[in-house]
């Protein structure tokens, strides 16, 4: 596709984001106008824990697996990004393209296998 279409697509995306944000905040603003500001009795602004009084720090020490999965995601997702140009040009590349990508995917899979064997993929509490 030509340059103009891509430019228009880019502008469209920007318009989407800007107008979308505008809509959200205008709507919230309208609601606020409708409702007005109400008094804040004690307890209203506390964290909601099914009516119990909140105890302890909000910053829980959570499972380290979250981080590990985040790291794995980062890698796999971005490695996938590397394959998109390949996918588009795939018909031109032929068997060479197939084998190169197969090797690449194979290495990626090896990474997964490694993580698996190391026991990283086990979600434990």
């Amino acid at each position: 596709m030509d340059y103009l279409t891509e430019l228009q697509a880019g502008i469209t995306a920007i318009v989407f984001f800007l107008v979308g944000l505008a809509i959200v905040f205008v709507t919230i603003g309208i609601a606020r106008l409708l409702v007005g500001v109400r008094p804040k009795p004690p307890g209203k602004l506390d964290a909601y824990e099914s009516g119990e009084i909140p105890i302890g720090d909000v910053n829980l020490r959570f499972n380290v697996n979250y981080y590990i999965f985040a790291l794995l995601f980062l890698l796999f997702d971005v490695e996938a990004a590397l394959l998109f140009p390949w996918a588009v040009a795939y018909d031109k590349l032929g068997w060479l393209g197939f084998f190169e990508a197969a090797i690449f995917i194979g290495i990626l899979a090896m990474g997964l296998v490694y993580a698996w064997r190391r026991g990283v993929l086990k979600w434990v509490y």
Partner: protein, 468 residues
């Protein structure tokens, strides 16, 4: 042939990493595998000689690449052997460590072989990431994680600056291949290109630990295991120095180019300030880090001449430095494994507690200082010769004066080892036979290289002749 090396290292590492969970309690087996791989690549490197390009000319497989294969495989082999020093009990025998070493070495080889900035960058990062992880490999050591964090932070800042510099050079020349860059820079150099070259140099300066981009080095050395510090101080430096030589010769205009001048300046600053800071150190690993900075400075001085003598000097310097530095770090490794911390305080009276170890330490330290008949002296001599040949008298004089400072801080180590009395409850110094034979071998290499360097030099010269 060289492709085989690349495949061997890449998949060797992969296999080791995959074996790791099952094999971690068998460090000897792991070491044997990685030793075999490195031995094979070493032989392949010695056999490979023909100049050719692969990957559409993005990687050059020439004599220099072959030389880098030999050098880096040697480091890998030694590290694989050195991993047995500590014996059981720690993960240095783990397959992952060896895999990372392998990939670090692979990155280094590609770095030297690259003829395209993309490959250069990828290879650089490959070896860098391997070392980041190696530094912080033991998750329980406070200093280890701290060091890895600092190293990684500054290293990634360095690579980002390098990248931006590459982009500017690309903007000027419209090419990422070395040949294209050289052609593009040949006509005229605008401010854009100069800025790009400067940023690239800054980035590489971070990696080579040139002052003022060296801040990570002392911490990284202090925090990591001595063996890994040894790897850190040899393999990436070897690759970077040779890679920079290739870059300088093939892309940046070689002798007399503006980049060469900058390299010289940075190197000189490193030599001077590194020597001065080294005087203040009390931890041996930190001291050696500053010593590395100084040595990288000397290397940079040789590089900056961009002449055949200069590049040969770089090569010889690297050989000498690999042997010497690894030897010393092996001693540190063995001593640390035996419970002796790497501080000057703890090393007091080492020579009296074990004379042989003392003499071995003396050989390595004197070689680092540049005492004649040891490898380190000839290395420095060649650097000075290259400077003299290029007529860089001021640099020569400054460098030569800093050698005196070097002597001073190296002799502090020797003074602690030989002159001070050992502490009261000094534990016995046990060297395993492997460790001892390894260190003795390296010490002999230091002496032989210092007395009869000609074969190595001839080999290096043929490898480097294609550059100039």
């Amino acid at each position: 042939m060289t492709l085989a090396v690349i495949v061997l290292l890449a998949f060797g590492g992969l296999v080791l990493a995959l074996l790791a969970p099952n094999f971690d309690d068998r460090p000897a087996a792991i070491g044997a595998i990685s030793g075999t791989v490195f031995g094979a690549t070493l032989i392949l490197g010695l056999l490979a000689a023909q100049e050719s390009g692969v990957l559409y000319g993005a990687v050059t497989l020439g004599p220099l690449t072959a030389a880098s294969i030999v050098l880096l495989s040697l480091v890998g082999l030694l590290v694989a052997a050195g991993a047995t020093i500590r014996g059981g009990g720690f993960a240095l025998g783990s397959g992952e460590v060896h895999a990372l070493v392998m990939w670090g070495v692979l990155g280094g080889i590609l770095l030297v072989g690259s003829a395209h900035l993309l490959i250069f960058y990828l290879a650089l990062e490959l070896s860098a990431y391997a070392t980041y992880v190696l530094v912080g490999y033991d998750r329980e050591r406070r200093f280890g994680t701290e060091a890895a964090a600092k190293y990684m932070m500054l290293g990634s800042v360095g690579s980002a600056l390098l990248l931006f510099g590459m982009a500017l050079v690309y903007a000027e020349t419209g090419s990422l291949g070395y040949g294209g860059i050289a052609a593009g820079l040949a006509y005229q150099t605008s401010g854009l290109a100069l800025g790009g070259l400067a940023l690239m140099l800054v980035g590489l300066g971070f990696k080579l630990a040139w002052v003022p981009f060296h801040a990570w080095a002392p911490d990284a050395y202090q925090g990591s295991f001595p063996l890994m510090a040894g790897f850190l101080s040899t393999a990436p430096k070897t690759a970077l120095a040779l890679g920079l030589a290739v870059l300088l010769a093939r892309a940046f205009g070689g002798e007399g180019s503006v980049v060469a001048g900058w390299i010289g300046g940075l190197a000189l600053v490193s030599v001077v300030l590194g020597s001065l800071w080294a005087l203040l150190q009390t931890d041996l690993k930190r001291l050696l880090a500053y010593s590395t900075i100084v040595h990288m400075g000397f290397l940079g001085l040789a590089l900056s001449t961009a002449s055949l003598t200069g590049f040969t000097a770089v090569g010889y310097y690297l050989v000498a430095y690999i042997v010497t530095s690894l030897g010393l770090f092996f001693v540190l490794e063995a001593l640390e494994a035996g419970g002796l911390p790497s501080t000057l305080e703890a090393w007091k009276g080492l020579g009296r507690r074990n004379a042989l170890v003392g003499v071995l330490v003396a050989v390595f330290v004197l070689s680092l200082a540049g005492v004649p008949l040891l490898a380190g002296f000839l290395a420095k001599l060649y650097v000075f010769a290259a400077l003299a040949q290029a007529g860089a008298w001021a640099a020569l004089v400054v460098a030569v004066v800093m050698v005196v400072f070097g002597y001073y801080f190296y002799f502090r180590v020797l003074a602690a080892v030989f002159l001070d009395a050992p502490a009261e409850e000094a534990p016995a110094l046990d060297f395993s036979p492997t460790a001892l034979s390894l260190v003795v071998l390296l010490a002999l290499a230091v002496v032989v290289l210092g007395v009869w360097p000609q074969p190595v030099l001839d080999w290096l010269k043929t490898a480097i002749a294609g550059l100039v």
